[in-house]
């Protein structure tokens, strides 16, 4: 078993584990961060999405060894106090039903807004298409991403 060091939600972290252990399970079990969710384990559903050096990645198929020396951000670190514009928009539009997919939805949406602060409705739909929700919150997800983007624009101008 090797030791891997990376930055986790802004703080240095090291972990002894097999290098091929998917980051999802390293986060959830030894590191105790259960916000990232397991849905499919094969990179289809998007529930385990985290940011690796700012890019959205599916942590169920991302080996811990690939994170060494990099920066990992999870839903627990999306904002210090739950006030990321997406988190606010999600609450304002009452997006969650069971809520289980929402950490993945939010992390995936955050990567879109980081790259494209003013996405069109089509760009939002295109981007968010790859995260599944069984409860059927898609219509509200679309609206909430647009609302968060609009508010961020407002703050900038």
């Amino acid at each position: 078993m090797a030791s891997y060091s990376f930055e986790l939600n802004g703080k240095p972290q090291s972990l002894d584990c097999p290098g091929e252990m998917p980051l999802l399970w390293a986060l959830r079990d030894p590191l105790g961060l259960t916000g990232s969710k397991y849905g499919c384990g094969i990179g289809i559903c998007g529930l385990c999405t985290v940011h690796l050096d700012g890019t959205a990645m599916r942590s169920c198929v991302l080996p811990v060894s690939a994170c060494a020396g990099k920066s990992v951000r999870t839903i627990e670190g999306l904002s210090a106090d739950g006030t990321h514009p997406l988190q606010q928009a999600w609450q304002a539009l009452n997006v969650p039903q069971c809520g289980y997919c929402q950490p993945g939805q939010l992390m995936h949406a955050a990567s879109l807004l980081a790259e494209n602060p003013n996405p069109s409705a089509e760009q939002i739909a295109e981007h968010m298409d790859s995260v599944l929700c069984r409860c059927g919150t898609y219509p509200r997800i679309k609206q909430a991403v647009a609302l968060a983007a609009a508010r961020m624009q407002g703050e900038r101008s």
Partner: protein, 741 residues
């Protein structure tokens, strides 16, 4: 065993009785729930009843028998409590008790919770508010009539002085329980009837919410179970020598299952792989070598049982509703129609796979579980362990979706067996593949439909249902003269006045664990009946709205259809359904011209006093279906939290569309062929049409919306395909016949 045979429907009936008999004045005997928003009980908690406690700071705790799984029942309990107690929302919290003699009938389903919360909790809360007023009256030595309530305080009408509920709780708890405390008038509502977001949203968007899979207990190990791939299969021998190379692997242990007919659940034979983390347990499971005795079901395959159902659909069946003379009407008709409809097994596939944490010794058993059939689980644990109720503690976790799946408690009983075998706390995790392969499925079906048209009118409607019965499989004593009322009732309530009707049932018990799938049989019968109405209306040259309204015109009195004895009846109010259809016609733009390839389809249904109609708009171009728009009109009686009703209908529509387009679990060699979301597909965000929901103002009582959104949508979609391209979809899923964009 002496377990009560409680199924979903019988529970509903029992609850309504229990609801009027809620008793005050018990000590609170529940442990805190494992749910993340449950605050630890404050030390000076005064128990005002078995369902409400108030601490000295005025924090109100509702002990709630209904389980949150995304349908909003936790928030609804808070809203109803805030309303009827005249308290502030933020002073209220909700926990689930462990089931017991005091907290019995814990089961959440049947789109019944809103009705239960509103009708059963309010008198109880009103009595508590009255006791708080009386306590204040004693303190101030004024008449109760001069003590009003406002936002968590009692107000003295004489001098305007105020005292908080927290200060009054102890004195109030000593008072006799008033039997005549008045309920608040709806006109005075300040909380209910307005939209409120879920109270747990913040935890959900920050990753703080703790689902079953997020539970951690001191000293906990992680387990996967390698299960018999075929129902009834057993372990001949196994070899775990390769597993030792997996870092974190602890040990393996063989688990003996039950039979497919065992009540309450079928548990597969298997080998549990124990490890220090989830991934190691999964890795070890992959390396385990098992020699299976596959048993009698190893040839079980879709082709076989679908043929069996097809043959059953051709028989006479047991008639459960007959009016006029179907045969004569067919002979006398201008046009006679006949067709077969079919649909496959379907899985629930909630995003959180099955899981449970358990610790079990000789003397006690404790579980943390995302489950909403807690009493069924309690019965199962008693049966497996021989422990009595006092030695069993069930913590209900937040649930990552269920749709009926977690009304079966197989996964939790497995965890108990594993915990018992290893003598340590353990979390059993189902991989997604296992969740797909070992689900409790919705029945497949074949239905033979007949109908007649004469002089432009529909004169006959025949339906022979062939399907697998959940009850026949495991609770055959629930059948009455061979009839399964859970199967027949959704068909029996056909609301249309067709003069010659014959509805009949042929059931079997396929050797597959089965369960309730967003109500199950309504998703079958309403689909087939509404598609068949569309065919008959088309043959009669009528308009789908006009002709339905015509067949509902005779609406003088609601029809009632009896369940089996002691189970009450379903009321069908044609007036309400007509109103919903008219509202929908007004909103959906039915008469707008259509371009080539555009289609619109209508369907409606009634479920548990909720009336719903839906229009689907789609295009079929070059054999490719694309959804465009769904419009719904809903009469669910008095609306308590409108935005949540909209969310539930939206969610139901999307769930039903996934089923209609893709939903299919098939078998070959006794094994489920699907394994993950790549071959059991869900609708994605881009495919989702725009969804409009129109709620009707209604004088009717509160009824539920968790399931009905998913009921007409499959038929409306098939009918729209016909409208677009002339192709009748009688065999689901649609994607087996058309491309889907």
């Amino acid at each position: 065993m002496n377990a009560r045979k409680l199924d979903r429907r019988s529970f509903l009936r029992l609850t309504s009785v229990a609801g009027s008999g809620l008793m005050l004045g018990f000590a609170v005997g529940c442990e805190r729930s494992g749910g993340s928003s449950a605050a630890p009980p404050a030390p000076a908690l005064t128990s005002l009843s078995s369902f409400v406690s108030i601490d000295a700071q005025g924090r109100i705790q509702i002990i709630h028998k209904k389980t949150e799984m995304g349908q909003g029942v936790r928030t609804l309990a808070m809203l109803v409590a805030a309303e009827e107690l005249d308290a502030q929302l933020d002073q209220i919290s909700v926990i689930n008790p462990s089931p017991s003699a005091e907290y019995s009938d814990m089961q959440t389903g049947g789109s019944y919770s809103a009705r239960y919360i509103y009708n059963a909790m309010r008198p109880h809360l009103a009595a508590i508010r009255r006791m708080l007023q009386q306590a204040a009256a004693q303190r101030w030595k004024v008449p109760v009539s001069e003590c009003s309530t406002e936002l968590g305080e009692v107000v003295n009408a004489r001098d305007g002085s105020r005292v908080g509920y927290g200060e009054l709780a102890e004195a109030a708890a000593k008072l006799d329980v008033p039997q005549d405390a008045p309920l608040k008038a709806v006109a005075d509502f300040r909380v209910l009837g307005r939209s409120h977001a879920h109270q747990h949203n913040r935890e959900m968007v920050t990753g703080a919410a703790k689902y079953g899979l997020d539970q951690r207990v001191d000293g906990m190990l992680y387990a996967c179970l390698v299960r018999a791939p075929v129902v009834g299969g057993t372990v001949r021998s196994y070899d775990d020598s390769d597993c030792a190379q997996v870092p974190g692997f602890v040990r393996s242990v063989q688990i003996s299952g039950t039979g497919i007919n065992t009540f309450p659940e079928y548990i597969r034979d298997g080998v549990a792989m124990i490890a220090s983390n989830s991934w190691a347990a999964m890795q070890a499971a992959e390396r385990l070598q098992v020699d299976w005795e596959l048993g009698v079901n190893q040839q079980f395959a879709s082709s076989g049982y679908m043929d069996q159902l097809r043959a059953m659909a051709e028989g006479e069946g047991l008639v459960f509703r007959q009016e006029g003379e179907l045969q004569l009407a067919l002979e006398d008709a201008d046009q006679v129609l006949e067709a077969r409809y079919s649909g496959p097994f379907m899985a629930h596939a909630p995003m959180e796979p099955m899981n449970c944490v358990a610790v079990c010794s000789q003397s006690r058993c404790e579980v943390w579980v995302p489950c909403h059939a807690q009493n069924r689980l309690l019965d199962g644990i008693k049966q497996l362990t021989g422990l009595d109720e006092q030695a069993i503690l069930i913590h209900t976790c937040l649930i990552g979706g269920s749709f009926g799946r977690r009304l079966q408690v197989d996964y939790a009983l497995e965890a108990v067996l594993v915990a018992k075998a290893i003598g340590k706390p353990v979390q059993l995790l189902w991989s997604r593949q296992e969740d797909m392969k070992f689900g409790c499925l919705r029945s497949p079906y074949v239905q033979k439909m007949r109908g007649a048209v004469k002089d432009g009118r529909i004169t006959a409607f025949g339906q022979q249902i062939a399907c697998s019965s959940v009850w026949q499989l495991r609770e055959p004593q629930m059948l009455v003269d061979g009839l399964d009322y859970t199967v027949i009732m959704p068909a029996k309530i056909l609301p249309y006045a067709v003069q010659n009707l014959r509805l009949s049932q042929a059931i079997t018990a396929l050797p597959v664990p089965q369960g309730w799938w967003r109500a199950s049989y309504p998703t079958i019968h309403h689909t087939v009946q509404e598609c068949w109405m569309d065919e008959l209306i088309h043959a009669a040259g009528g308009d789908p709205f006009e002709m339905r309204l015509d067949l509902l015109a005779d609406d003088a009195t609601p029809l009632d259809f009896a369940w089996q004895e002691g189970w009450g009846k379903d009321l069908i109010d044609r007036k309400r359904l007509s109103r919903v259809l008219r509202e929908l016609r007004g909103k959906c733009g039915w008469a707008r011209p259509k371009a080539a390839g555009e289609g619109r389809g209508l369907a409606c249904s009634i479920y548990s006093d909720t009336y719903i109609a839906q229009v689907v708009e789609l295009t079929v171009i070059d054999g490719q279906l694309q959804l465009q728009r769904v419009v719904c009109a809903v009469d669910c009686g008095q609306v308590l939290n409108p935005d949540n009703v909209l969310a539930q209908i939206e969610g139901g529509v999307i769930f039903g569309l996934s089923g209609a387009l893709y939903g299919q679990i098939s078998f070959a060699n006794g094994r489920v062929e699907q394994s993950n979301f790549n071959d059991y597909r869900l609708l994605t965000l881009k495919q989702t049409p725009s969804i409009e929901v129109h709620l009707l103002d209604s004088d009717a009582g509160v009824s539920g919306v968790g399931e009905p959104g998913a009921h007409p949508i499959m038929a409306a979609t098939c009918n729209a395909v016909f409208d677009a391209c002339g192709q009748r979809i009688r065999d689901l899923p649609i994607a087996s016949q058309l491309g889907v964009a």
